[in-house]
Homo-oligomer: 469 residues x 2
């Protein structure tokens, strides 16, 4: 049975939580008394449905059921997870948490999206403090993996463990913050950078656009994959981190920042910033900027996924955890996925090269089925493709969900010929591929016979299934 | 004739400048009295030769000539650009700048890599202050596009313009810092974040690894593509940046950072950081970390390149500026490029899907040659591929430089059949492709005749060149 999440408060953040759970197969009960909440959530959900499936090289679970509730009681009653994302006022949070605890299961996790309050502050005067913790997300919540999980000493350790497991199961990275402090961890950095940015603008040193360029063409690229300390470890060279600190530590006493002061946010300064931001980005609507940001994030995160590093390693692990055996009832189904935005070209459809990639993935999945899996490859055996013929039958578009079915046409000694057929959701055949492969020894890089069990399975499939294409 | 850069000071930063210029076809004269300099530079250059060509979908210019000089005089004498990257002491910088100006051309640009000094400080007591400015790079200099160009009021405006043009021509993004301040722009942010990070470790809130995860799984990904202000513009929603400030401005007065103080870098704190860093990354050598960082950067920047956004837009512009017409002498050469790391698979060679991509690129280049270029496509005409047959003849490896030659086999009305042959540098044929295409109307998505001039060129090529494959 699907797990259920109650989403209490449905702005951009609540909507992001909702989308992440829903698209990972959870049922959702959402409550927000604001009449505009449903519209805001729909907008987030539309972005998320475009973006999240594109991160993966296989399809996500079937979407759960989405119910908008008319009372908080209905929303939280059977929830496994209750996510509170109401405005940042402590009295409001206390009121909502009290109502949640009146109706929710005692074993449910109650996570708060707060960026400003510590869990011990939220837990004041609550019925069951053990089930409450901060679970602080980052926008766009449906794409960025980081959740700061901040318990207090009153939060139950079993609740912490369950929360981390559930977050991981929907593709988040739970960062367990071991000591509660104001603003947790990430926002302390954001706050420091934000203050410095305001000073640079106030003093007329740089505009919003110049600051953004200083970030995204330089250290932003470094931080997206390694963060701060691993980057500086490299700068320290073989002599290590202590050497780096001895070399660069002294700068700390130089007058390099304005951080001792906070600039007054006068109307004048606010206007300067707003005008600069309009000059920088005013030609695009927020909706267009969101789509641009999401497409950039998808493309970069998919690039890291292909490398198996940084945020990409998290996506690979999530994908592996979601992977179901394709099953005997659909013996030859070898691919089930959505087409990502970075696969299309100037003709507005999937580039021909990506068909080759899908059929290559289909062959990989097929080989795993017949036992030519990663341990087979680690032992020095593999199949190399010698010739492929792809027929492009119908245009394939970004976001389309496709499946591939695969068959063996020929299996003779070291020679194999596979046939793949790619279809969309309504059953149109989009393309077919004939793939002629040779079995090789990965050390000598020369062709040789497959190991007997692989060859037997291949031949068995040929006889049973090869008769009609 | 090649331009010449003099590299004065050959550590990681000087070596990065050297590699960037050299791989963009500049001749290099390098001077550093330290006997270990040559080894350090070779290490940087090896990384750069692996990394930089992979950023592009075409080959870089032919490498320039690299000469290690035994005197500063020899190095700077005929240089168009002199880059000073000596240690961060003002008296050392003054001494070196005086010697550079004694021997260099008065019209040469003298850039300093300093992160700490203002240009007016460097210019004190110099012979020709107008040719001196700060050009502050970011490690790895051969990959990251950002250069902070910081002139003082004494720097000549013609020198500033020339410097920006030359930096752009080797793929950098020159960020013109209009008012000189301590630490320029980017390092002010780095300094703020570094201080905050030290406090979090000192207070036992988070380890180096937890901080890095908080950055790279969250805001690091946002900043790599949009920076700070455009990201917050989205958070402000349709109501704009002023709304965002009114909503989040008040946090500035909350006790969210420790930035008023600087922690003492005691031996004990240094040791804590070094130990945490060892626990996080100690299983990898600095060389391995550098390669990991570079591969991640290549993959992410290539992803942005495919989107045509953020740092990827810079690479596309640089690529376009470098593009030479393939020329009548090599009429059918349609691809010349290096194979990037993100194109290989578990068999240790280029994945079969990427052959399709290269041959698709070859067809694009061919079409441009015969007039079916971007304006032809904008007018609603294009060729769609209907069937391809690829023969994989020899394994293709990451880093290999390949070229493709293309011919017309058949051109009959709306039908075209192209033939492509891909070779490596020593002339081995790696793969061939036959590509059957149909001309289409992009509005109706139906086949139709090409425009007459395109059809005529295509048919002319068929007759002249189709006779042997």
């Amino acid at each position: 049975m699907n797990k259920t999440a109650a989403i209490i408060g449905g702005g951009v953040i609540g909507g992001g939580w909702l989308a992440r759970f829903l698209l990972n197969g959870w049922d959702i009960k959402c409550y927000d008394p604001d009449p505009s909440a449903k519209g805001k959530i729909s907008a987030v959900l539309e972005n998320a449905r475009h973006a999240l499936p594109m991160l993966y090289d296989q399809s996500l679970p079937k979407e759960g059921q989405l119910i908008f509730c008319t009372s908080l009681q209905d929303a939280v009653r059977n929830a496994d997870w209750v996510q509170e994302s109401v405005p940042e006022r402590l009295d409001t949070k206390h009121k909502v948490l009290a109502e949640i605890q009146t109706y929710c299961r005692p074993e449910a996790i109650i996570g708060s999206s707060t960026s400003g309050f510590k869990p011990s502050e939220l837990q004041q005067k609550t019925l069951r403090p053990e089930q409450i913790m901060v679970t602080h997300p980052f926008n766009p919540v449906y794409l960025l993996p980081l959740i700061e999980v901040v318990p207090s000493s009153m939060t139950g350790s079993k609740f912490i463990k369950n929360a981390k497991d559930m977050l991981t199961s929907v593709g988040f990275f739970p960062l367990h913050v071991r000591k509660e402090i104001d603003a947790h961890i990430a926002d302390r950095f954001l706050e420091a950078v934000w203050r410095e940015g305001l000073w640079l603008i106030k003093d007329g040193i740089a505009t919003t656009e110049e600051i953004d360029n200083a970030i995204r063409y330089g250290f932003g690229l470094r931080w997206a994959q390694m963060g701060l300390f691993e980057t500086y470890r490299i700068a320290g060279g073989e002599e290590g981190m202590a050497h780096f600190i001895s070399q660069f530590g002294p700068c700390l006493s130089w007058p390099w920042t304005k951080l001792m002061d906070v600039p007054d946010l006068t109307d004048e300064l606010t206007q300067v910033i707003a005008d600069q931001s309009d000059a920088q980005s005013g030609d695009k609507s927020i909706r267009e900027l969101e789509r641009l940001r999401d497409n950039n994030l998808i493309a970069m995160m998919r690039a890291l996924k292909q490398q198996g590093t940084a945020a990409g390693a998290l996506i690979n692990a999530h994908e592996k955890a979601m992977r179901k055996p394709l099953g005997d009832s659909s013996l030859m189904k070898t691919v089930s996925r959505s087409i990502p935005i970075d696969w299309t070209d100037y003709n507005g459809h999937m580039n021909e090269g990506r068909y080759g990639q899908i059929f290559s993935d289909a062959a990989d999945a097929f080989m795993i089925k017949i036992g030519a899996d990663s341990s087979y490859i680690d032992a020095g055996n593999s199949f190399f493709t010698v010739e492929t013929t792809v027929k492009y039958i119908k245009e394939t578009l970004a976001g389309e969900k496709v499946t591939v079915e695969s068959k063996v046409l020929v299996s003779e000694g070291k020679k194999v010929k596979l046939f793949h057929r790619m279809q969309n959701e309504v059953g149109d055949v989009l393309a077919t591929c004939e793939q002629f492969m040779l079995h090789v020894n990965l050390t000598t890089r020369k062709s040789c016979l497959p190991l007997p069990e692989v060859q037997q399975r291949m031949e068995a499939l040929t006889i049973v299934r090869g008769e009609n294409i």
